[in-house]
Symmetry: C2
Amino acid sequence: MSTPPRPATLRDVALHAGVHVTTASRALDPAKSSKVNAATARRVRAAARALDYQPNEMARSLRTNRSMSVAVLVPDLTNPFFPPIVRGAEKVLSGLGYMTLVVNTDDDAKRQAALLQSLRGRKVDGFIVATAHRDDAQLDEARVQGVPIVLVNRRTDSPGFASIVGDDHSGIKQAVQHLLDLGHRNIGHVAGPSGTTTGHARLRAFQQTLNDAGFPADSVTLANSFTEVDGARAMRLLLAEHPQITAVVAANDLIALGCLDALAEAGLRCPQDMSLVGFNDMPLADRVSPALTTIHVPHHAIGGEAARVLLELLGDPQLPPKSVTLPVNLVVRGSTAPPTGR
Amino acid sequence: MSTPPRPATLRDVALHAGVHVTTASRALDPAKSSKVNAATARRVRAAARALDYQPNEMARSLRTNRSMSVAVLVPDLTNPFFPPIVRGAEKVLSGLGYMTLVVNTDDDAKRQAALLQSLRGRKVDGFIVATAHRDDAQLDEARVQGVPIVLVNRRTDSPGFASIVGDDHSGIKQAVQHLLDLGHRNIGHVAGPSGTTTGHARLRAFQQTLNDAGFPADSVTLANSFTEVDGARAMRLLLAEHPQITAVVAANDLIALGCLDALAEAGLRCPQDMSLVGFNDMPLADRVSPALTTIHVPHHAIGGEAARVLLELLGDPQLPPKSVTLPVNLVVRGSTAPPTGR
DNA sequence: CTGAAAGCGCTTACAG
DNA sequence: CTGAAAGCGCTTACAG
C-alpha cells in the first residue's frame, strides 16, 4: 500500500501555474480575481483543478481570524424540538457560505463551559445558543469578551444578549384559558427547571393566569429536567399531593409524555380522567396517543431568525442586542376534554 | 464602549512568566510538562490563568496537522433515529478529547460533496458517515485519499470502508415471519430509496423471505426518500395496485408513519384492516398511535462502536476496514394483528 | 532544563 | 498586473 499523496497546497498550485503564491491566492479569490490578468487567472484555476487543490481552512482562518463557521449549542439533540431549529438556522447560514456545527451540552454547565471554550479556540465566528440558564456566568463572560451570541428559546436573566424566543407567557395563558373554557377548575402544572427562563416564565404565567381568573394556582410540582423521566416523576408527586386536579399543563411536550406515563401507572385515562396540555408542538406531538394538545412554537422560524440576527451581529458587533419574541398558538388535539365527575 | 481586549496568546503568557514561548508551550502540555522545571511550569500555568489564556486551536492544528475533531454526517437530523447514534458516538469521542461536529446533508449528493470538502479543509480528523449511497463516488474518492471514514447504518457497494450497521436482512426476515405467523398471506412492502443499501437490502430480504416461504413478493412500491411524505405517497400506490394485501412492511419508521396517513385517508384502520411493521424503533415509535411494531436497531451502540472503530483507524490508518453487523430484533406492539376477513 | 529558529499554509499591505 | 516579505499562533527538532 502506498501512502496517499500529501494534499496540494497553494504553493503547489502557484508552482504548477508558474506564478507567485500571492498571485495564485488572488486568482482563486472571487473578490480579487478581477485584479489579475484574465489569462493568468485561468491558468491558476486550471492548475488548482489539476492538483485537486483544497484550501487549508485552518491556515486561512489563522490569517484572517475568521472561520466562516457558526456553532449551535443544544441541550438535548434527542428532543425532537431542537433539530428543526437547527435546520432553520442551517438553511440561512449555508446560503451565505457559513458552516453550521451542532453540539450537544446535555444541559450541563460543565459541558457547556468546555464546549464553549473549545469552540472559541476553534475560532467559530459566532454562537446560536439554545442552552442558556437564567444565571449563566459562562455566557455572560463570553459576551463581555465580545463573542457574538444569539440566544434561542431560552434567555438569561442578565440583559445584553440578542435573543429569539417563543412567547412563553402567551402560550401558557392560552393553555390555561383553554382548560378553563372546557370547565376545569382544578388545574395543575408540572413546571420545568427553575434555572431556565422557559421553566420559570411558564410557571409564573400559569400562576398569574389562574390568579387573574380568580382560581388558586398552587397545584404545582417541579421537573428537574425537560425529559420524560423527570416529567413522570413530577407528575406522580402532583397526583399524590393534589388529587383533586382534573387537568395539567406541562412545561413542555417531553414532560407531557412523562405525565402520560404517570397517569397510566395511576390508572387514569387521558383525556377522560385528566386533561393534558404540552408546550412546543414538537414533531410527532400530533401522532402520539392521545394526540397532544399543545402550544405551537415556530421552531423553524426561530432558527432562521437567529441566524439572520447573528449574521447582522457578525457584520457589526456593536449593534444593540435585539430581543425578538415570536407568537405562539394553542393547537387543540386529543389530550384535552371537559372534566367528567370522576 | 471599549473594544474587548485581544485574546492572550502563548507569547503573552511566556512574556508574563518571564520565559521563552517554547518553554511556555511545554509547560502547558501535560505530556511534556515533566520536562520542565516544576517551579517554572507553575509560573507559566499561573500566567496562563491570570491572562485567561485559550490556546488557538487553528494555529495548533495547522502546526500538528490534526484538529481533535470528528464530523458526523447525517441525512436528516429531524429523523429521530439519528440523534441517538450521534449521542452514542459523542460519548466515546468526548471522553478522549475529541469534539463532535454534526452536519446535515439532506441526503443530497451535492450538499454532501460540499460539506465533505469544507470539513476536510477544516482538517477534521475523521468522519462518521450515515449518509452513504450504494454508489458514492465522493466517499470512494475521500477514502482513496486516505481520509479516515466509518460508515454507519448504510454501506456502499464498493468495498474498503469500515462500517457499523444493523442486520437489515435478519430484521426484515423477522418482520415478515411475524406477519406470516399472524396468518397474513398477502404482504406488501414500501421500499426505501434503491440507491441506499438499507433500501435495497431490505427489499431483497423481503422478497427472499416471502419466496422462501412459498409466497409471491411482488406487492412492492418505492418511496423516494425515508420520509413520511414519500412513505404516504408510496403507500397510496401500493393500495391502488395491490388492494388484496392485509399487511405492510415499511422500510423504516418514518415511512411507516406515512403509511399510517395513507391508510387513514383510505378509511382503513391499523391494525384491524391492515397490519404494519416499521424498521429502526426510533424514539417515540412506542408512543405513536397505534404503537408501532418495528425492528429495534441498537442506535446508541452503533454510534459508540463507530466512534471506537474510527479511533482505531485514526491510530493506524492502514488497519483493515472492519465491517460490523449488529443484531436487531422484532418488537411487537399495536400495529400488527391477525388478518380479519375485511 | 531552556532557548533560538524554522515552518505549518495561507492573506495582505507594500513596492514596483 | 505581479512579486517579495511579513506574520497569524502555535509546536518541534536542534543546540546548548
